[in-house]
Symmetry: C2
Subunit: 234 residues, 2 copies
DNA sequence: CGCCTTTTCGTCAACACGACGATTACTGCC
DNA sequence: GGCAGTAATCGTCGTGTTGACGAAAAGGCG
């Protein structure tokens, strides 16, 4: 802070996106395969540098989301995860990346060649496996994202952000089961969730999934916190 | 990401510190009075730009902590709070600031003129009052910091980070009461805390505070999460 | 020694939770 | 149509946790 010959160091600021979704019975994350060095050909989080020095961080996150995954910010929950800025995290130059976490309902399988430039969905278990290579420090970021998601399900209503606009109690329970990797009793889960005022709003409709009794349909309610919390077993 | 005439925009990266402590019966925050424009003379969070393009974010936070408040990183809990980067948050130029949150035991009143350059301790209620002017978007940051602190007390053992190395159950309870702004039943609090294995380790000693039965002294234990959580009333 | 204060231990009812039985409302098959 | 199979929903019961509060323990002080 002494202003001798010192000038304010300038660094490149990027935003990265950890878009989580529940797909095909597993917690999956949206990744891209890098087309340019460094880490060319490797898996990485979608993201990029600020478009200009005037671009807002949140706006950059929303822009990258659309550009790289084809998703709109109105479809999903988006929040800041954390900022990663180790000096050597990018071999080219100093980059500080602000990472955002998104919860998305199940996606219509963005097949390669679509609008999104080669965004792929992979199960987080597979990505976090020690044999899978991931660019930069993105494996650590993904690990933080998953842990944040698991934790948020405990004391917020964000589990419903993984569900489509209308969903059944079983849809929601499976979100919890898949994200936490545990199995939950359907009866106790039903009682617990319906006991939280404002979490779910029944639409009055019922839907029949293959076999069994038709389930009631719900929409997300106004509540954001889960009180009392639903703690996972440890 | 199209590499026409576009070059990666460079921005100045700063770290700010929200150092919270419980002092004089109130939750207080460490602030400095700005000596230079912009917002000269106004209250602001301690912080500053990266010392060089090679400096790690966490290291910069630790450095600023020592420089501006005289505190060492070993004395307190330090974690990332969030990153604030609205384009117009600094009138001079684009600045993205990574804010860190610190919980400190009660401080020996860093009187002006000491080592720390004019660090002052102010109750957060006063600072967040709409009549108090605070530089940049720091009021919003302080508000986020306080909310994070309140929330962390619910499901982690970080309340003890506000206490000195050895403390009584009442010391800890008062931390909760002051941070949450509620009053808690001493008997139920005692039962709850002693029921969490690993939160507190009794030293075996007792200490007499003025009047009343002497209280047992405790040290912080290994536990970091509070399970089950202690939820505040809403 | 009594009185005040604070800490600590106990009690009790209300509530929340895990385990699980029973009922309801469908689909599919014979 | 009747019956088996399945999933959703409602209930019950024992246990553990919480909030409200009584009571005892252990000090200071006059």
């Amino acid at each position: 802070m002494t202003d001798d010959a010192w000038t304010i160091p300038e660094v490149a600021v990027a935003v990265d996106l950890a878009v989580l979704t529940v797909h095909d019975g597993a917690l999956q994350i949206m990744l891209v395969r890098r087309g340019i060095p460094p880490f060319e050909g490797m898996l990485a989080l979608p993201g990029g540098f600020l478009a200009s020095t005037a671009e807002d961080l949140d706006a950059a996150a929303a822009r990258e989301l659309t550009e790289e995954t084809g998703l709109g910010t109105e479809d999903l929950h988006l929040e800041q995860l954390g900022t990663y800025g180790a000096p050597d995290r990018d071999p080219r130059r100093r980059v500080v990346t602000v990472c955002y976490l998104a919860f998305s309902p199940d996606l219509p399988t963005p097949t390669a060649g679509g609008d999104a430039r080669e965004a792929i969905l992979l199960p987080v278990d597979e990505v976090l496996d020690h044999r899978t290579a991931v660019a930069f420090d993105h494996k650590k970021i993904i690990s933080d994202a998953v842990e944040r998601a698991r934790s948020k399900l405990e004391y917020t209503t964000l589990g419903a952000a993984f569900c489509p606009p209308e969903f059944t109690m079983t849809d929601l329970r499976q979100v919890y089961e898949i994200v936490w990797g545990t199995s939950l009793d359907p009866r106790n889960f039903h009682r617990k969730i319906t006991g939280v005022t404002g979490f779910l709003v029944p639409t009055g409709e019922r839907v029949s999934r293959q076999v069994g009794r038709p389930a009631a349909l719900y929409r997300r309610g106004d509540a954001t916190v889960l009180h009392p919390a639903m703690l996972r077993n440890r």
